[in-house]
């Protein structure tokens, strides 16, 4: 069996279970019961479900009845976009930022073939949406504006409040994807001006297979999953009660803990950025000010991101690479492309709550030599390609 990576620097992909979440999960697994049944076991399950829903609602400044529990952020985003469109009458236009997660972009693009018009709003080189461009895109028949709280690849925080004001001026709704910020930054429906909010459990120290959508009273939604009356007829299917209880415990814990971590996260990011500045031809992505404190994204020119990822993995360091150069059918990162940023050699480092200077230093110990090695390999590959080309021309 392969050893688990010792230095896990991919918190933006998924996080370990919070101890509170683990305790809640185990307790709920043993106390099985269907919350829709009226006998004692069912009522106890219903009480746990209600309590969990109240905790989650409180964490984001929503009313408990506004929450729809889902299998994750992806389902929540699909339900929001598709469900709103199904209930829409007059309004047949959507606005999405070009750097939204694909779980927002894909259902929006699917609607483009079903009588809806979709406008994609671009970003600047830091990955931030320009509110003026957004203002031009929103129309009187706009149903929904989708803008993430912070970007999943480069960590840029978006002007969500401005987007809310622009959407509401025209009577449109704002969907905020908060998967990268819940349990890290304050996420509050009123503060953001959000009408709908998408959250994921497993990026906030809850279990995978959990998430939720907040649907404020202003939004009318038709379900995507149908078959019963659960979740106020907005999402059919037996509730994942152990997962929900664990997600609620995790999110509650993280909302309390995260504020105390910000300075340390910023210091770790600063340490990493200082180290990266020493490596030639490394380009840091994102906005220097409007950024997630725990996430640093960069591109190493002239190397393949996945090759670097694998080399680091061999040293027990886990990072994410956004570039997918190995498979020729795969497109470059739509986020980096929209930013006009270099897409090859891209690396995303994101810190867990307990990351230390030693973690950053381990990466910085290995990275410069890895970059030199990979650039030499790229050079050899290139020379081989060129020799082969000369050979063909010579014939």
């Amino acid at each position: 069996m392969r050893a688990v990576a010792e230095t896990y620097l991919d918190a933006a992909s998924t996080t370990p279970l919070h101890p509170w979440a683990r305790a809640a999960l185990l307790e709920a697994l043993d106390g099985f019961g269907d919350p829709s049944r009226l006998y004692g076991r069912g009522r106890r399950a219903r009480m746990l479900l209600d309590r969990s829903r109240e905790q989650l609602a409180a964490a984001v400044g929503a009313a408990p009845e506004e929450l729809v529990l889902t299998s994750g952020g992806t389902e929540a985003a699909n339900l929001a976009v598709t469900g709103l469109a199904r209930a829409a009458r007059r309004r047949r236009h959507l606005v999405v930022s070009a750097v939204e997660h694909t779980s927002v972009l894909a259902p929006a693009r699917a609607l483009a073939g079903q009588g809806f018009e979709v406008t994609e709003v671009g970003v600047d080189t830091t990955g931030r949406v320009d509110p003026e461009e957004l203002a031009v895109a929103v129309r009187d028949d706009t149903l929904l504006v989708c803008l993430q709280h912070a970007n999943h690849e480069v960590g840029t925080i978006q002007p969500v409040r401005e987007a809310a004001a622009l959407a509401h001026e025209r009577g449109a709704l704002l969907l905020v994807d908060a998967c990268q910020t819940i349990g890290r930054l304050p996420v509050d429906m009123a503060e953001l001006g959000a009408d709908l909010l998408v959250a994921s459990g497993h990026k906030a120290y809850g279990p995978p297979g959990t998430g939720f959508l907040v649907v404020s009273g202003r939004a009318r939604l038709r379900p995507v999953m149908v078959g019963d009356e659960r979740e106020r007829r907005r999402r059919a299917g037996m509730e994942n009660l152990p997962g929900v209880a664990a997600m609620a415990a995790a999110v509650t814990a993280r909302v309390a803990e995260a504020p105390g971590e910000q300075d340390r996260m910023a210091a770790l990011a600063g340490r990493l950025l200082a180290g990266l500045a020493e490596i030639p031809e490394v380009i840091v992505h994102g906005d220097p000010a409007w950024r997630l404190p725990h996430l640093v994204a960069f591109s190493v020119l002239y190397i393949e991101g996945e090759a670097l990822l694998l080399l680091l993995d061999g040293q027990g360091i886990a990072v994410h690479s956004g570039s997918s150069c190995t498979a020729d059918t795969q497109e470059p990162s739509h986020v980096l492309a929209a930013m006009g940023a270099i897409t090859h050699g891209s690396v995303r480092v994101s810190f867990l709550h307990d990351a230390t200077e030693a973690d950053v230093d381990r990466l910085l110990e290995v990275l410069p030599a890895a970059v030199v090695d990979l650039r030499e390999m790229t050079d050899l590959d290139t020379q081989a390609v060129e020799r082969a080309a000369e050979g063909r021309e010579g014939r």
Partner: protein, 78 residues
């Protein structure tokens, strides 16, 4: 229009090789010289213009090839 001084054929090659070969070819021509790059990797469509901007080299043209992919013309500006 003057003919391209150097043509670099990166058809069928994935990133970062088109960028690496462009960088080498631009370094090899005189200032003011032109490099023509053929590429069909989707990453190249994004990365070649971005590289030119980052390195302050002039992207003179970027055209679709009828056979697929793109042809880029880059003039060495310094």
């Amino acid at each position: 229009m003057t003919a391209a001084a150097t043509t670099v054929d990166c058809l069928g090659l994935a990133c970062p090789i088109p960028v690496v070969r462009l960088a080498r070819a631009v370094a090899a021509v005189e200032v003011g010289g032109l490099v023509e790059l053929l590429a069909d990797d989707p990453g190249a469509r994004v990365d070649i213009p971005v590289w030119c901007r980052l390195k302050d080299q002039q992207l003179v043209a970027q055209d679709d090839r009828p056979e697929g992919g793109w042809v880029f013309q880059v003039r060495r500006s310094h």
